[in-house]
């Protein structure tokens, strides 16, 4: 998902403390920043929340790309609000990660030098306006499925951040569906663009949930700790089941001839995405990996004088106030 393949860290803590900690989680208690927690819990959460935050921030790039070229002023205002929300989501999450003892700058630097990842989906390009609809509808739609259960995660600050995020996220999916619906119901050329966007983004959206459960080696500990609430395949299936009726409503097709209702399972069968492509994108070889990291590095470098200037101004003001007293 926004945090894919987060490796659970081994824990070497006192077994008695570990058992008491697990009992608190099993009883549904929230763990707060100053509570005792296993080293592995802390490390895994820093990585997971950090990756989630980075995804929100990098996720602004493919959409920010289209703000100035939105087809109407209304669509432009909506997209601007959506991208601004993503910045907010990143900030809520960074603050949650910081309560675990990592600083904002450390997190940023780990993103910028590639030590921390962000979701694979944002390494795909957004080629035209139809992609804005498809991203909001499919990508944010997939993200919601992951984020709704995370509202119940065991770490208090993460849970509270997720509650805020989820309140805003359904606006994102709905504005995307509305944008793509407009095109699907438009001229034949517009409908063709909508179909093309779905064709390109469907499998990358499926990949957001991470590798199939059989290959997902880090899940067991994270699920016991309630920092992962569902398996990758459970969420992926839910996404397929919710999306097929929507695509039928739009009169578009999914680029997967394997989509078929399975009476016995009460779910749709679907084809797996190309996992080799997924692992390749994660390794840094997706179509936009280099661009995305370059854009974030440039923003960080270009903003340095602003951060320094405002801090110098604040220190000067504080010093003057002390002198006046």
């Amino acid at each position: 998902m926004y945090a894919q393949m987060v490796k659970s860290e081994a824990t070497t803590d006192d077994p008695e403390k570990l058992a008491a900690f697990q009992a608190r989680i099993d009883a549904g208690e929230k763990i707060e920043p100053k509570d005792w927690m296993p080293v592995g819990y802390r490390k895994t959460l820093i990585r997971q929340i950090g990756q989630h935050a980075h995804s929100e921030i990098v996720g602004q790039l493919p959409e920010g790309n289209w703000i100035t070229r939105a087809p109407t002023l209304e669509r432009k205002a909506i997209l601007l609000a959506k991208v601004q929300d993503e910045a907010g989501h990143g900030l809520y999450l960074y603050c949650a990660a910081e309560t675990l003892g990592v600083s904002r700058d450390e997190l940023t630097e780990m993103l910028l030098d590639g030590r921390m990842k962000y979701s694979s989906i944002f390494n795909y390009p957004t080629l035209n306006w139809a992609d804005m609809g498809a991203v909001g509808w499919l990508v944010d739609g997939a993200a919601i499925l992951n984020q709704v259960p995370l509202q119940r995660t065991s770490f208090g600050p993460y849970s509270r951040a997720m509650i805020r995020v989820c309140k805003e996220e359904s606006f994102h999916a709905r504005q995307g569906f509305d944008a793509i619906r407009k095109m699907a119901e438009g001229t034949p050329a517009q409908k063709k663009m909508a179909q093309d966007a779905v064709n390109r983004l469907w499998f990358p959206a499926l990949m957001m949930f991470g590798p199939s459960d059989a290959d997902s080696v880090h899940s067991t500990q994270s699920m016991a700790w309630k920092i992962k609430m569902n398996t990758n395949d459970e969420l992926r299936q839910k996404f397929v089941d919710q999306t097929v009726p929507q695509i039928e409503f739009l009169g578009l097709d999914l680029p997967d001839p394997g989509i078929k209702w399975n009476e016995e399972r009460g779910s749709y069968d679907y084809s797996d995405p190309d996992w080799a492509e997924f692992f390749d994108v994660i390794k840094g070889n997706g179509p936009c990996n280099v661009d995305r990291l370059a854009a974030r590095n440039k923003a960080w470098k270009d903003g340095q004088w602003v951060r320094d200037g405002l801090l110098a101004h604040a220190r000067k003001k504080a010093a003057r106030k002390v002198a006046a007293e």
Binding site: G88, C95, R307
Partner: protein
């Protein structure tokens, strides 16, 4: 000197007549910017009518390990709750 902006805790009054509630935190160089940033981060959808910003290192907090000594004494004092007392129906609302 460390060049990271300090952390601020943000409290928002959701509606007139309600108290300020903690909504989250953010980084800002000074109080003025903290309030400006809080307005952008935490009140984009009419969530508030007033903002407090407090630098995080000025907050004193109780420790989780003090939970027992701090809160257990009140557990045995059930008579502090109005429901402890039986008031006969004939007496009416009280």
């Amino acid at each position: 000197m460390k060049n990271e902006w300090p952390l601020w805790e943000i409290f928002i009054r959701g509606q007139h007549g309600m108290s300020h509630r903690h909504v989250g935190s953010l980084h800002a160089p000074d109080a003025e910017m903290a309030i400006k940033n809080a307005r952008d981060v935490y009140t984009r959808r009419n969530e508030g009518v007033s903002i407090w910003a407090v630098e995080a290192n000025h907050i004193a907090a109780s420790s989780p390990s003090d939970k027992g000594p701090l809160y257990e004494p009140s557990e045995s004092k059930v008579y502090r709750h109005p429901t402890f007392f039986d008031i006969p129906d004939e007496v009416g609302a009280m």
